[in-house]
Symmetry: C2
Subunit: 144 residues, 2 copies
Amino acid sequence: MTGNSRFAVSVHILAYLAYRQGAAVPSAEIASSVDTNPVVIRRLLSALVKTRLVSAQKGASGGFSLATTAENISLRDIYRAVEPEPSHGLAHFAPNTKCPVGAKIEAILQATFVKAQAAMEAELARVSLADVHHQLRAVCPGKK
Amino acid sequence: MTGNSRFAVSVHILAYLAYRQGAAVPSAEIASSVDTNPVVIRRLLSALVKTRLVSAQKGASGGFSLATTAENISLRDIYRAVEPEPSHGLAHFAPNTKCPVGAKIEAILQATFVKAQAAMEAELARVSLADVHHQLRAVCPGKK
DNA sequence: CCGAAATGTAACCAATATAGTTCCATAAAA
DNA sequence: TTTTATGGAACTATATTGGTTACATTTCGG
């Protein structure tokens, strides 16, 4: 169970909401598509609602729907909504500051990691949920 | 203890070897700089030796040293040597293939993740161990 | 040639994260 | 008022990571 699948599942969730065209979709239906437990879905949706990518409607005939158009949502938005702050492996990294190398390596690494992370996120920013949606439609065009 | 620090520690290890200028450095000395157990260091060095970034010498007065110049080692080389194959969170991701969305989302995500990963590694490729070494020397120039 | 010092691994433990699950309070539509 | 849904707490199982001990093997140095 290594590496988290939060981001992958979250993209799946939003792609599903786009596919359902604004209907109020209950978490159980999404969970069926993702093949997991509705609570897992709601946990992720909680973060997506907080960042205003999704709106939630409680009560009977309630559910979730996109809060904006698929064009306005990038994969980077989704990534940032559901991924914890990247530690770059520095969380567990506490070198001996009495050693000249240990004293300064952390700051040097930090700067490099931030740049590498930014490059990755820039690539995610280039892909919108609409792009994902279009690729889905290209594969199964007959669906509602 | 989340997120692994293998990469950060490995860069530290190689920076330390560069700092020690070709001497045979025992794992215990490196462990002192990183402030961890020598076995942890040897585990990482095992991968670095296998990828020919480092050479090992057994026996008394043995130790580890760079197998090539610091200019010839990029942070991406180190990253690839010690990080497992990136799963992009797809390891745990097995959607319902009977759903039109679930059936195709995985392939779409995979392509995007590969591009994002490549962008990150390209950034790492731009930094050499020599760059790290020079930054260290700039901070503490008087050291051996 | 013998002992000290080192690598190379296996085995195990503790801490942590993730995903899955059960349960229940709350809210809202029908 | 009943049904259906979100929201969230609490618990469990599993995997990974880093740390640790232990030990076999190798090799230098006296």
